[in-house]
Symmetry: C2
Subunit: 154 residues, 2 copies
């Protein structure tokens, strides 16, 4: 199995500058505004932007359901890259399940645009397929639309 | 299940100073001398001591068998703590299996001695039990004897 067979990838050229997209990803009050595809919404976000620092969002659905699981950041390259995972809780405690690691990258594309790549990497092809069936492409796609719209206002 | 039920822990008061033990853990040419319980031996060691940096050892057995799997460091506190895992390969690629994360700590205990704690944390109780049956306590115990003996010569 090649590595790509365990990945899901969203790549988009966004009509917003890299710095604005970075703010939307790294400031909790901005992240809350776009991170979930509506009508879902984020009611709490905690981000400790350093390797091992907590990344937590509490996501809420239209029928009162909520979902939140603390993860950690693995790598933070200011303005360029964020890597985080659900495999650990803060303190490097293994979580209940190592499901996904996300690698999000921002590259200048000229004319105020940004090449945006969000890669979800899994520990097995089964987990990748499960994530795809959960609606990865539609969900991350809609959230990215929201991200772009918010970044354009900054 | 409490967190402790997924851990295996070795705690020892070692008759060697913290700095010498740290050198044995962080310098590849020293690590190779103690990391495997004899007659097993390490023929290659690569250590990139930073979050996400590679930690690789090629371990060889008396019947010609060898075992090596690249992992990464998660946290490096100079002289005090090393955290590493087999859940990732360098570049934050999920590995074939997230089995274990090790948290190794060194604390001054006075009179040239060091309180040494090596904790192996697993993603499931099953993995913990598997690791225990593989001989965690005997293997890490013997390796720690070798570590202490080497550190005393430095």
């Amino acid at each position: 199995m090649t590595e790509g067979e365990r990945d899901l990838v969203l790549t988009r050229s966004l009509d917003a500058p890299r710095g604005a997209l970075w703010r939307c990803w790294s400031e909790p009050e901005l992240l809350k505004q776009w991170f979930c595809p509506k009508p879902w919404f984020v009611s709490e976000a905690r981000m400790d932007l350093r390797p091992g620092g907590e990344f937590f969002t509490l996501m809420n659905g239209p029928d009162g359901e909520s979902f939140g699981e603390p993860g950690v950041f693995l790598d933070v390259e200011e303005g360029r890259r964020l890597v985080f995972t659900d495999a650990f809780r803060p303190g490097w405690r293994p979580s209940g399940r190592a499901f996904m690691t996300a690698d999000v990258r921002f590259e200048d594309a000229g004319a105020g645009r940004t090449l945006y790549t969000a890669r979800a990497m899994h520990w097995s092809a089964e987990a990748r397929d499960e994530h795809e069936k959960m609606g990865f492409h539609e969900g991350w796609g809609k959230a990215t639309d929201q991200l772009e719209a918010l970044a354009k206002t900054l």
